[in-house]
């Protein structure tokens, strides 16, 4: 279930953020999503906040929380699981 969620997140991120030539298999669960990892930017961070709301019904009360939540696929999956528990 956990790895299903992580796989789903990878596929959604690739599609939502138009990451051309990146496959889900190339994203490790603990790869940094920003900076040297996938190289996402501040607009991508906003898109991820919208994605959490739209696809998982999770609203971030404080966008600054995103910094920790969006560190990696691992942290995103953990946050979604915890929010739904």
């Amino acid at each position: 279930m956990s790895s299903d969620l992580k796989q789903e997140l990878k596929e959604k991120i690739i599609e939502q953020l138009n990451l051309e030539d990146v496959t889900a298999a190339e994203i490790a669960d603990n790869d940094p999503l920003f900076g040297d990892g996938l190289g996402l930017d501040s607009i991508d961070a906003l898109e991820l906040i919208v994605m959490l709301d739209k696809d998982y019904g999770i609203k971030l009360a404080d966008p600054k929380e995103g910094r920790k939540i969006f560190e990696s696929i691992d942290t995103m999956a953990a946050y979604i699981r915890a929010s739904k528990a």
Partner: protein, 204 residues
């Protein structure tokens, strides 16, 4: 009157063809905009994945500019662009994301492109250009409007060169014609010559 300025080079993107100075540098039989841009990117731009995050207008403008600026060393290049549809192609997509109150998920990545001049910003970022820019929205290509503004910029020493032209996308119809105005060049910078080059490329 003596001509003070010249057209150094020009590009055109239309009907699956990218050309420079009238000579095709890329051709495809694909007809849908997305496929044409993707194939042209792989051949002419290559290592700039941000391209795929851009809206259609920025992709078209960046591609038409890339073939003119990739070997350009001058950075004091102003931009004077024009089109008919402004950012309508993107505006419609954004409107779709907010029209339903129960599924109201405005996309930040789409919203940032709901202005036509963002296209010039993307070109500036790619080519590290810090300069004057202006985007005119008009019914049809108008050399007079662009040439007078361009010559004013150069007369006032606001720029060493000016990247000018027409970049228009709307509902899969796309058309770009860009040209670089400089103090030296192949073609005289006159309304008649700009019009001739614009029409020449359209007759290919």
């Amino acid at each position: 009157m003596e001509n003070r300025y010249y057209i150094e080079s020009f590009s055109h993107v239309n009907n699956g063809i990218v050309s420079v100075n009238g000579a095709p540098v890329f051709k495809t039989l694909e007809t849908d905009f997305k496929s044409v841009m993707k194939l042209a990117y792989k051949q002419l731009i290559v290592d700039y994945p941000k391209f795929f995050k851009m809206d259609n207008l920025s992709k078209l403008g960046l591609l038409a500019a890339e073939v003119l600026l990739r070997e350009e060393w001058e950075k004091n290049i102003a931009m004077v662009f024009s089109n008919r549809a402004s950012s309508l192609d993107t505006d419609r997509g954004y409107q779709d994301s907010i029209k339903d109150a129960t599924h109201y998920y405005p996309s930040p990545a789409v919203f940032v492109y709901t202005l036509a001049n963002i296209c010039m910003g993307e070109i500036s970022i790619k080519h590290k250009i810090h300069s004057e820019n202006c985007f005119f929205v008009m019914d049809e290509f108008s050399p007079e409007t662009l040439s007078s503004y361009t010559e004013e910029l150069m007369d006032e020493n606001k720029a060493e060169k000016v990247l000018c032209g027409w970049v228009d996308v709307d509902n899969e119809k796309y058309d770009a014609f860009l040209y670089v105005v400089a103090k030296k060049g192949t073609f005289v910078h006159s309304d008649a010559e700009i019009n001739r080059l614009y029409k020449t490329t359209h007759e290919q």
